[in-house]
Symmetry: C2
Subunit: 230 residues, 2 copies
Amino acid sequence: MSDIPTATLGRVVTYVRVLEELEAQNVQQASSGDLARRAGVTPFQVRKDLTYFGRFGTRGIGYTVAVLRRELLRKLGLDQTWNVVIVGMGRLGHAIANYPGASDYQFRNVGLFDVAPDVVGREVRGLTIQHIGQLGPFVASVAGTPRQVDLGLLTVPAEHAQAAAQALAAAGVGGILNFAPAVLQTQDLLVSTPTGEREVTVENVDFLAGMKRLAFYMLGPQTGPTEEST
Amino acid sequence: MSDIPTATLGRVVTYVRVLEELEAQNVQQASSGDLARRAGVTPFQVRKDLTYFGRFGTRGIGYTVAVLRRELLRKLGLDQTWNVVIVGMGRLGHAIANYPGASDYQFRNVGLFDVAPDVVGREVRGLTIQHIGQLGPFVASVAGTPRQVDLGLLTVPAEHAQAAAQALAAAGVGGILNFAPAVLQTQDLLVSTPTGEREVTVENVDFLAGMKRLAFYMLGPQTGPTEEST
């Protein structure tokens, strides 16, 4: 499970979304071709990607939608609840805190943080925005209750991203989803675990990167992303 | 240029960001090791990724930061202006319309659209939000002036994503950056070009996908994404 290419993981997340759409339409069986068409990839790609996660489906019949969805969710860790704090309650932080889809995936906002005096103290969806100085005590207060803070969402300006990420690591938050247009220096982001220190796991979400990729694709004769050459 | 893997393109966009940071710090030369460390990849990966874009750097000296940045920007199409419309002016649409970094990359918002009566007519950064029914006439009005609408950002709820994407395609917008948690059926998204119809180019930006990848990485013993097996 540990050597799954990033691009495969991204596509499997898309297959889960497709399976949810099929389930909502009461479709019970689907072929790799059905999944491929809806996910915008080839049937071969679907079958290859799924081999990383186990053996699914029956030749000539295809996949049982509900079973494949449930198994993929479990292997992706999406059958458990992940507690999330958001650091940076500007417009993007607010947009995410209010995003209706997040709770479907067991991502639960448990804390909201900012530094601006006119933002701290406001309430969003039942949570009061706290000052970033409260992050450490807050994370400590929920640890082992049996909740804990699993993930931090960074939605601060680029120039504050590294410092805010260090505050999250110092508070013991082991995973960061970084929306700031800055490359975090992960060697400086260390979190203590029962087995020693480790670097915080960082995933970058950059919608400008998406625009840049799109601009590049629109330059050339091709009309879309190419398949990975794996 | 047309067979660059998606993951490579994503990393090269990161290298550009790193080069900008170095330039801001008045660093003039950088090795593949310098770039790799800041981008969180291996030096070999940097060198391999750059071969898709040309021959850069001098053995033993490294890359000239300003030159490499300028060449990559040109090859990525980021030395030209891309006009953008945003469809869906909820919180996420507002967050993007107000995002300060976008204009650095020659992405210029030229139109904002929504359907809600209490949103249409409001002003955001000098642009008045228009009703989606005005999208076709608006795109036609700017075409060949010499501006045109290059990209559409979809920030509508998932259940309206396909219809809004079809409105963009019908209006002649050839590229869509999709933020809605829905897989767009691109075979139904056709845009007319001087050489015939083609499918709209779609890039998906899904912050839940980022959270899902992060959740997966945090399940296992590994602490981050693996390299592509290319």
